[in-house]
Symmetry: C2
Subunit: 319 residues, 2 copies
């Protein structure tokens, strides 16, 4: 029996008789034959692999999102390679180059907070490797992206804090490089406007996710003349550092201050002093959607069309 017959039999080609197929499959099992995927990839010029590039696995947001990606990838018999940039743009560049070398069929990426060049990503697309931006994206030019409905969620949070009686609501904004930061800030502003509270620039601080900077921001904000009684925070990990700071330095304020951040993380259930509420970003869903979109792009390479933007709604979870 020839190699080609065997190959066809194994892939259940229509031209092969059932008898032959059965015999081949039986022997393959008997001899523990394992097809060499490397050869297959090489021949087909496909790797059946998705690259996922994220800042850090310690962030439970990404863990949930990856679960969603794996779910979809598995259904398409695709593998997933996970790589962490550790919020370092250079490391990220290196990872992407590696993914190109390895001819991944598509990339899902949450860019690092320091990433400011779009060239690498256009280069990926020019190499026929579609890219989907997850949660963080650039402003322009637009790439395919799946993001939370940040603006609306920002309004939601601001509004809820107002309902709780707060009139001095501060915002800890994310790094300026991220579109996400601007969107969440925009939601905050919109919320304030609708509530007829003016925006006080004195209540705004930018944070880089480091514990020190968060502590510094809270310290400064609590020192101003008419200090905030509530904080709308870029993400829950930052909220936790904020709470820790207040707990230690202003324990009496703890009861009076309310904090809301993005990310309804599993670890919250272990906390005793919880944020007042969290914005559930549905990160698993975001993973599902970005992988679904990516698979679509991979399977229709001819017609990429204009960049797609998918917005996932957030919910306010009160703790």
């Amino acid at each position: 029996m020839s190699v080609s017959t065997v190959s066809k039999a194994l892939s259940n080609h229509a031209n092969i008789s059932n008898l032959t197929k059965e015999r081949v499959h039986r022997l393959a099992r008997e001899w523990n034959y394992v097809p060499n995927e490397a050869a297959r990839h090489f021949k087909q010029n496909k790797s059946f692999t998705l690259g996922v590039v994220i800042p850090d696995l310690i962030d439970q947001f990404f863990v949930a999102a990856i679960r969603g990606v794996e779910e979809i990838a598995g259904k398409h018999k695709y593998q997933v390679i996970i790589a962490q940039s550790h919020e370092d743009a250079e490391k990220e560049e290196q990872i992407i180059k590696n993914l190109i070398s390895n001819r991944v069929d598509g990339v899902i990426i949450t860019i690092s907070k320091n990433t400011n060049k779009t060239e690498l990503f256009t280069q990926l697309e020019q190499n026929g490797i579609p890219v989907v931006f997850l949660t963080r994206s650039f402003g322009q030019p637009l790439f395919n992206n799946v993001t939370a409905d940040n603006i609306y969620a920002g309004e939601l949070a601001t509004n809820y804090l107002y309902q709780l009686g707060h009139r001095r609501i501060a915002h800890l904004m994310g790094p300026k490089t991220l579109s996400t930061s601007h969107q969440r800030f925009e939601g905050y502003i919109k919320g304030l406007e609708k509530l007829k509270i003016g925006f006080d620039p004195g209540l705004l601080r930018e944070v880089d996710f480091s514990e020190e900077q968060t502590h510094q921001a809270i310290k400064e904000l609590l020192k101003i003349k008419n200090p905030p009684t509530a904080f709308f925070v870029f993400k829950t990990y930052v909220s936790l550092d904020a709470i820790n700071y207040i707990k230690i330095n202003h324990p009496k304020l703890l009861q009076k201050i309310d904090i809301i951040g993005f990310g309804n993380l599993p670890l919250i259930k272990y906390l005793d002093i919880k944020p007042k509420a969290s914005l559930e970003e549905n990160s698993y869903e975001m993973g599902l959607q970005s992988a679904t979109l990516l698979m679509k792009l991979i399977n229709n390479p001819a017609d990429p069309g204009p960049p797609v933007s998918i917005k996932i709604p957030c919910e306010l979870i009160i703790h």
Copy 2:
């Protein structure tokens, strides 16, 4: 210029003149040439990839260990593929078969709590794919493994609880399938013996890491005639569920009960009611060591030698 000349030039082969090398490298850069790793892997029958199979990325222990693996892999220009079994032995089997198909050069695995067959792993080794077991392992037959010094750490914990005045020290043991569970239990027993407190089987419960089972175990233990005042727990995630249960159902006991578990997780810093202490497993170090061992095995396929066991010491971190 021929293909082979170019190939040699790119890999800085000795036989190529410097002039040629320079010219080739320059053009490669200019034309954005990226070598096709798939072809290379195929030809060399190597993938320059390590497979890492772990139960779940939500567990910060594994995230730190992976960081260590990536560190070493990167130094050897190896890629890392991460896959999660979600503590499901079948899913794990599927993952490993996939890794074999993809001809990974080596595997680091933390087996699921339900894994009881060793065949797959001998099969991997028979396929020339070395395996290193991380933290969890089988009793016999022995495979290469990197584990915490569980027995000594168990003694350490038991002893510390005794120093705090406790005489009724319960143990929440991990699943019986895991060698780790037995080792930690052994340490507990040894500790008790050295302290001249007899082992009371009534103070032992097995947990499967689910919240319900942990709650049930604590519930039962607090109901017995002479209930425990301290708990030595298989891992910190279980400790947290235990603390939550006590907090809700026996708030008055909270001050009197001390809990120690394996795993000095980053999330502990956000907790207000912390475990009394945690055993620092040095998971990053464990990742480093297992990857180093694996790279050694990959690079010396001729002489595998007897299975290697590496023990990483633990420290008791008091919160």
